[in-house]
C-alpha cells in the first residue's frame, strides 16, 4: 500500500512534465498527421529532421542567436529536409518510404557536421530558453509549472489554428485532394508533384520546430534523439484517431483531428509513465512504442475480421441447418 501511494505521488509529480513532453511531441505528431493522414505519404524523414531541428536550435542559441530566431531557423532546417525527401520522390522517382530513409540517414552526418559531436548541451541557466524540464518537477512553484505547460500548449494551439486555416484554403484543399485521389487532382489541374513537395516541407518544418522545443526542454540535442520518432508520431496519430472516432463519432472534424493528434501524444507519454512506474525499464521504451503502434493498428483490423469470419459463418450455418450436419 505504501509502495502504491509513493508511486502515485511520483506519478502526480511527473504528470506536468509528461504533458509538456506530450505537447512538444504533439507538434511532431501533427507534422506526421499531415503527411501520413492527409497526403497519404509514409514519411520517415521525421527521424532525421527532429534531431536536425534540435541541433540547429542549440548551436545557434549557444552562439548568441536570439532564441525565437534560432527556433525559426530550426523550422526552416526541417523544411529543407522535407524538401530533399520530396525531391528524391517527385523529381528522381524514388519511392516515398525509401526517399525518407535516405534523407534520414544523410541527416545523421549533417548533424555531426553541424555540431562536431553527438551531444550538444544548452543550459537554461545561461540562455533564455522558452521552456525547460527543470521547471516542471516536484519542487517547482506552480506558477513555473503552469508557465512551462502553457508555453508548450500555446505552440500547439497556434499550429493547429494555422493549419486549420491553411487546409481550408484553395491550396490546402488541393493538397487534401492529392492525398485522396491523385488522378482526379491532375484532372482538376492540380500539380500533384508540387503539392507533395509543399506538404513534406511544412510537415518536416513542424518536426524541426518540435526538435528545437525538445532540445530546450531536455537541455541538450543528441544525434540519436530522433531515433524512432516516426513511431511515436504514428502512435500519437493513431491513438488520437481511435479516441476521436469513439468520443466524437460524426463530429470528428478536421480541427478535432489535429487536436486529438496532440492529445494522442500526451496520452502516449502519460501511459508510458504508468508502465514505467509498474516496472518497464527505460531501455524498453522503444519496444513499448512499437507495441503500442502495432496494437492500435491491429485492433480495427481484427475487429473487422471477427465481424466477418468464416469460422462464425460456419457455426451459424450449422445452427440454421439443425443438428446432424456438422461442418467439415
Amino acid at each position: 500500500m505504501e509502495l502504491f501511494l509513493s508511486k502515485l505521488s511520483t506519478f502526480g509529480n511527473a504528470i506536468p512534465g509528461d504533458i509538456t513532453q506530450g505537447l512538444i511531441w504533439g507538434v511532431l505528431a501533427i507534422g506526421v498527421f499531415i503527411t501520413y493522414k492527409i497526403l497519404d505519404f509514409a514519411d520517415l524523414t521525421v527521424d532525421g529532421s527532429l534531431g536536425l531541428g534540435g541541433v540547429v536550435a542549440v548551436v545557434l542559441i549557444t552562439n548568441g542567436v536570439p532564441v525565437p530566431l534560432a527556433m525559426f531557423i530550426a523550422f526552416l532546417a526541417g523544411c529543407a529536409a522535407g524538401f530533399v525527401t520530396a525531391f528524391f520522390n517527385t523529381a528522381l522517382g524514388i519511392p516515398g518510404i525509401l526517399s525518407g530513409i535516405l534523407t534520414q540517414l544523410a541527416l545523421y552526418s549533417v548533424y555531426l557536421d553541424i555540431n562536431g559531436k553527438a551531444n550538444a548541451p544548452v543550459s537554461v541557466d545561461k540562455y533564455p530558453l522558452v521552456l525547460s524540464s527543470r521547471f516542471v518537477t516536484a519542487g517547482n512553484a506552480s506558477a513555473d509549472i503552469i508557465k512551462t505547460v502553457g508555453t508548450a500548449l500555446i505552440f500547439v494551439v497556434c499550429i493547429i489554428a494555422i493549419l486549420y486555416w491553411f487546409f481550408g484554403t484553395e491550396y490546402g484543399m488541393a493538397i487534401r485532394a492529392t492525398g485522396c485521389n491523385s488522378n482526379l487532382s491532375k484532372a482538376e489541374g492540380i500539380n500533384t508533384k508540387r503539392t507533395t513537395i509543399v506538404t513534406l516541407v511544412i510537415s518536416n518544418g513542424l518536426v524541426g520546430l518540435s526538435g528545437a522545443l525538445l532540445a530546450q526542454y531536455q537541455g541538450f540535442a543528441d544525434v540519436n534523439m530522433g531515433r524512432g520518432a516516426i513511431v511515436i508520431g504514428l502512435a500519437s496519430v493513431i491513438i488520437g484517431m481511435v479516441l476521436g472516432e469513439v468520443i466524437l463519432r460524426k463530429h470528428f472534424n478536421f480541427i478535432a483531428k489535429l487536436s486529438f493528434t496532440a492529445l494522442g501524444a500526451i496520452i502516449y507519454f502519460v501511459v508510458l509513465r504508468i508502465v514505467m512506474l509498474i516496472g518497464l525499464s527505460t531501455d524498453n521504451t522503444k519496444l513499448f512504442s512499437a507495441v503500442i503502434v502495432a496494437v492500435f493498428l491491429a485492433v480495427p483490423y481484427l475487429q473487422k475480421q471477427s465481424r466477418a469470419s468464416f469460422a462464425k459463418a460456419g457455426k451459424r450455418s450449422e445452427e440454421s441447418l439443425g443438428a446432424g450436419k456438422e461442418s467439415v
Binding site: T169, Y171, A187, E188, G189
Partner: protein, 265 residues
C-alpha cells in the same frame, strides 16, 4: 474545336509486350459536336481520350484544342481545357472530401490555387441550386463525404464537376459502364441535358451500340488504333445496330470482337 493529327502511341516499346495502341488517329471536331465512339476490344477508344487528356505524352502527332497546340502540355496544365468523367465512379471524385468541397475543387479547374478560402458562402448557395437540379437529394447532404454516395450519384456529381467550369471539350470514358441499366440510363440522360444546355463539345466512349446511335450528332468507329468510320447528322440518325456491324466488317475485314458490346445489344 479539337483536332487530332496522326496521333501515334505505343506502350512497352522495344519489349515483347509492345502494343501499338494508336496508329495515326485523325479526327477534327466542330464546335458543339457530340461524338460517340465505338469499337472492339483494344481498338484505342479510351486510349484516344487519354491522349487528349494528356495522361502520357504521345509518340507522334499533334493535339490542337481551340487553335492551341496542347501536345506538349502535361496533364494538369491541360486540365483547364478539358472536363472528364471516368468509367470507375471512384476515379472522378475525392471520396474523403465533402460533396461541396469536391465541387469547389472542380470550380477552380485550371486556375491558380492560392490562399483564398477553398469554398465561399456564395459558392455554397450556387452548389445547392445546382445539386437541386440533379434531383438526387444531394442538395441536403452537401457536407457529406462523397465516399458515402452510390456509384450513380457519384457519376452524376462527376458530370456536374466536369462541366462546372465550362470545358472546351468534355471526355466521357464509358462513364455508365459500371452502373446498373436503370442508373446508366439516368446518367446518360443527364449527360445529354448538360451537353445541350451548355452547348458543349463532347466525346463519349461506349460499348453499347444503341446508346452510341441514340446519343450525340456524330459517331465514329475505331479499330486497331485508327478511326475507320465516321458519320454525322441525318446519316447517323438513321443508323441501326445491324448497319454498324456490317460497316465494321467492311471497314476492318473482321467480325467485331467486343464481348461486352455483343452482350449489351
Amino acid at each position: 474545336m479539337l483536332e487530332l493529327h496522326n496521333i501515334k502511341k505505343a506502350f512497352n516499346k522495344g519489349t515483347i509486350n509492345e502494343k501499338r495502341a494508336l496508329n495515326g488517329v485523325e479526327l477534327t471536331l466542330d464546335d458543339g459536336d457530340f461524338v460517340t465512339i465505338i469499337g472492339g476490344n483494344g481498338a484505342g477508344k479510351s486510349t484516344t481520350l487519354n491522349a487528349i487528356a494528356g495522361v502520357w505524352p504521345v509518340d507522334e502527332g499533334a493535339i490542337i484544342i481551340n487553335g492551341q497546340n496542347v501536345t506538349g502540355l502535361s496533364e494538369h496544365k491541360r486540365a483547364k481545357f478539358i472536363g472528364r468523367v471516368f468509367q470507375d465512379p471512384m476515379t472522378g471524385t475525392a471520396a474523403t472530401m465533402e460533396i461541396q468541397e469536391n465541387l469547389a475543387l472542380a470550380a477552380r479547374r485550371g486556375e491558380k490555387r492560392g490562399l483564398r478560402w477553398g469554398i465561399t458562402k456564395r459558392e455554397r448557395e450556387e452548389y445547392h441550386e445546382m445539386l437541386k437540379s440533379l434531383d438526387l437529394g444531394l442538395e441536403d447532404r452537401m457536407t457529406a463525404k462523397v465516399g458515402l454516395l452510390s456509384g450513380g450519384q457519384r457519376q452524376a456529381l462527376t458530370l456536374l464537376m466536369a462541366t462546372l467550369k465550362k470545358p472546351e471539350i468534355l471526355l466521357l470514358d464509358e462513364h455508365t459502364a459500371a452502373l446498373d441499366p436503370k442508373t446508366a440510363a439516368k446518367v446518360l440522360e443527364l449527360s445529354d441535358k448538360i451537353i445541350a444546355e451548355h452547348h458543349l463539345t463532347a466525346m463519349m466512349v461506349t460499348h453499347n451500340m444503341n446508346d452510341a446511335i441514340k446519343h450525340g450528332n456524330r459517331l465514329i468507329m475505331m479499330n486497331d488504333g485508327k478511326v475507320i468510320f465516321d458519320v454525322k447528322g441525318e446519316e447517323k440518325a438513321k443508323l441501326t445496330v445491324d448497319d454498324l456491324l456490317v460497316k465494321f466488317e467492311q471497314a476492318s475485314g473482321t467480325k467485331l470482337n467486343n464481348d461486352r458490346m455483343l452482350l449489351s445489344e
